[in-house]
Amino acid sequence: MGVPQLTMIRYLARKFLHAVLVVFGVMTLVFIILRLLPGDPAYVLAGPIATQEEVDVVRKALGIDRPIYIQYAYFLRQIATFDFGRSIYNNNVPALDLILERMPATLELVVPALILSVILAFLIGILSALRVGTWVDGLMAGLALAGQAAPSFWIGPMMIIVFARNLGWLPTFGRGGLANLILPIVTLSLPLFAVTMRMVRSGLLETMDKDYVRTARAKGVTEKLILVRHVLRNMLIPVVTYTGLQLGHLLSGSVIVETVFAWPGVGRLMVESITNRDYTVVQVSVVVFASLFVFINMIVDMLYVVIDPRVELA
């Protein structure tokens, strides 16, 4: 037991170090990109009717009148002490607080959307594959195409108009009870559901033609067991990889959904911060999102080992 455990720890340690380096790299890149962007947060903060004196006062208060390498040195010190700075635009509130207090709202949409779309994708994907060529398959293909093609900034308002304004079944906007969750989650999960469902379907069809499936059939294994033991497990790797990556895309997709449904999440904060050149908030949200991305990828990598015994920790 000692050797595999040691391998695991070494593997995890290396992965973790990798992750830290990636996140640090992303942070530095974002730091540079933000400052290369034209526009100046002082002007945004001072507002369009400000005088030059007002702008100068603001710029000094923000410390952005200093040379960029000094700003970077401050930035490094902040990271080292886990003090991510204060929001330029939100009255000096610590940037990390702004993000953390909005995180639950975003996760409340993203996590159920992920679970819902994956479950439905598997159920309907398998159904389509088993009924390949029938009207069920055709209908689902059409649904998937629509789900992929229709952007959420269109689906969202349509859902609001139909289910909230006209039928009055659900609230139009805002965070609140369970009923408030339905429209945004459905809007958010539709594109992911569509793609994953198609992947499950084609993965199944492809695997079902493989030699080992034919062998299993020849041995007299039931179709049920073939599906679960041989087919599903072998087509899982691409689906898991894709779903892991999609969690990141769900987070970014939440930007639109949060705006449409007036949902108080991180996505909206991020967009506003970019428009306002609120450097610290953008930096911290990128750190949080990048860390999430890297963390999910680590989990996906480890899932490979569970799914496919041929994959080894190296």
Binding site: V44, P48, Q52, L120, W169
Partner: protein, 533 residues
């Protein structure tokens, strides 16, 4: 997903059952009535009407929900002039003087005021006013509030209104005397912006939200960022307990969502309704739309520092080349009306009788020829970002570009994101720009003094004569003399033409008819203090 799941056999029937179950659950959830009523009662209109109206109302009742498109970054009333912040805090706080819905100044926390001499103002404060926690409001609080605005650490944008301040003294508990270094004719309008805060708030704006204690008719209950702010009636309010029990402000950035929420009866009062929606939302008869003249004016500036706009003939040519009737009819109908001056008619100092430039392309071409541009010239226009919606600079810009091209001026539109646009605007890095401004105090010093003084460096054009008049306007404590000075300044601006005034804005506010007594305001604030249900 654990390994176990994949090892257990799943029958096709199980799969189908699960699928049907999930779909059924979703459907049931979709059909069910909202589990939690969003904010206001689901059918407010019906319940409000069916409740018998008692002859003597038994205290404050019901909830009024207002929606503002802007995101709220702070609830500190003295740090900036952002409309949404003033709208929200306007319910929890009072000002020293009140700016009425149509822009007049009247007593509020100060019962009377006068200029003892050009450099000294005296304010007599209302007695018996208490903050929500019982702390009395007095002259010391007023002094603290003004000094807080002036503290450089606090970094308030309102500080610029107070540059002339010398000292604040409090001869007795209800008297506040303000001395200025130079005369400050804008004092009453500035006092209508000045919002006394609880003496326990520090000067660090970050610590502010924890201490929302005002003297206004509503008490702070909770603030969920980017979502809502809840307030409830304060029974100790000096002007009488409000009739509404609860005021809620919600943030909905998306226009179509705002409209849907209004039509579904989830919210009561919505700002910035676009004209295209008016017919639909008023069709059912439950919603009223108020159109209010605001303090906001939009214009096309020509950078007088740059050639060829440094030539008055070129500027005048542009004035003649644009057909404002066309823009008024086809672009801004419903959101604004033809501008006649650099400040809106409701602003103190507005010039009512400047003759508008007529649309005359031939004269424009002649003027260009005289200026040495018989074939016109090439230039650029910025500030065209918004299409539809409220300012419509993008739409107006296309018409202007087309009209200018007919006299030989080829103007290329340039698109910039807000941060870049603001920077370039303030650094005078542009040829022509669409821009607009709300004279937040309702006074021409805010609408003109900030923009057209040489020291403001905003339009690229300025003159000593305009500066002289604007300074009289800023400093004179004689309101008639101020008015005369602003007239003179506007006449020069009209003649010299550095700015093509396009439109004075309306605000279109949709109000659910169950809310009584709501009045839209020229300063673009939403105020439901005096409403009832």
């Amino acid at each position: 997903m654990s390994q176990k799941m994949f090892n257990q056999p799943i029958s096709r029937r199980d799969l189908l059952k699960a699928a049907a179950g999930t779909a059924g659950a979703l459907w049931a959830a979709a059909c069910a009535p909202p589990a939690v009523a969003p904010t206001a009662p689901a059918k407010p209109a019906a319940t409000a009407v069916s409740t018998p109206v008692p002859a003597v109302p038994a205290g404050p009742q019901g909830t009024v929900t207002l929606v503002h498109p802007q995101v709220i970054q702070t609830l500190d009333p003295n740090i900036g002039v952002v409309e949404v912040v003033r709208s929200v805090t306007g319910h929890m706080y009072d000002q020293i003087l009140e700016l009425t819905a149509d822009g007049k100044v009247k007593p509020m926390l100060a019962e009377s005021w006068k200029a003892i001499d050009p450099l000294t103002w005296e304010f007599k404060l209302r007695k018996g006013v208490k903050f929500h926690d019982g702390t009395p409001f007095n002259a010391e609080v007023m002094k603290f509030t003004i000094e807080r605005i002036l503290d450089t650490k606090y970094n308030s944008l309102q500080r610029t209104y107070w540059v002339a301040l010398d000292s604040v003294t409090t001869p007795d508990e209800n008297t506040c005397v303000i001395k200025t270094k130079t005369p400050m004719g804008t004092m009453p309008y500035t006092m209508a912006l000045t919002t006394p805060v609880h003496p326990s708030v520090g000067k660090d704006p970050a610590g502010f939200p924890a201490k929302l204690i005002g003297t206004g008719p509503f008490k702070f209950v909770e603030w969920i960022k980017d979502d809502k702010i809840v307030m409830e009636a304060y029974d100790g309010y000096w002007a009488g307990t409000p009739k509404v029990k609860q005021i809620i402000f919600r943030t909905i950035p998306e226009l179509s969502t705002r409209m849907s929420a209004l039509e579904a009866g989830e919210v009561d009062i919505v700002l910035e309704v676009v004209p295209e929606d008016v017919k639909r939302i008023t069709a059912k008869g439950t919603i009223d739309v108020q159109t209010v003249e605001t303090f906001r004016t939009s214009w096309l500036w020509m950078n007088g520092q740059r050639k060829p706009f440094s030539d008055v003939k070129v500027r005048q040519a542009i004035q003649y080349a644009i057909d404002l009737d066309d823009i008024a009819k086809n672009i801004i109908a419903g959101v604004g009306f033809k501008a006649r001056a650099p400040v809106a008619p409701k602003v103190f100092g507005f010039h009512p009788s400047l003759p508008p430039y007529t649309y005359d392309p031939t004269k424009a071409k002649d003027l260009l020829k005289e200026a040495g541009f018989p074939n016109g010239f090439e230039t650029t226009i910025v500030g065209l970002a918004e299409r539809g919606g409220y300012t419509r600079f993008g739409d107006a810009g296309e018409v202007v570009i087309d009209q200018l091209s007919r006299v030989g001026i080829k103007a290329k539109p340039i698109q910039e994101d807000p941060a870049t646009a603001n920077k370039n605007l303030l650094e005078l890095n542009w040829d022509m720009t669409f821009a607009g401004s709300t004279a937040v105090t309702g006074d021409a010093d805010n609408g003109m003094g900030r923009l057209y003084l040489c020291s403001a460096k905003r339009t690229g054009w300025c003159s000593d004569e305009v500066d002289k008049q604007l300074m009289i306007g800023r400093e004179s404590t004689d309101q008639d003399a101020r008015l005369k000075a602003y007239m003179a300044a506007q006449e020069i601006l009209w003649r010299e033409g550095p700015s093509y005034w396009i439109y004075h804005h309306y605000d279109t506010v949709a109000v659910n008819k169950r809310v009584k007594g709501f009045v839209g305001r020229s300063d673009r604030q939403l105020r439901a203090r005096d409403t009832s249900l």
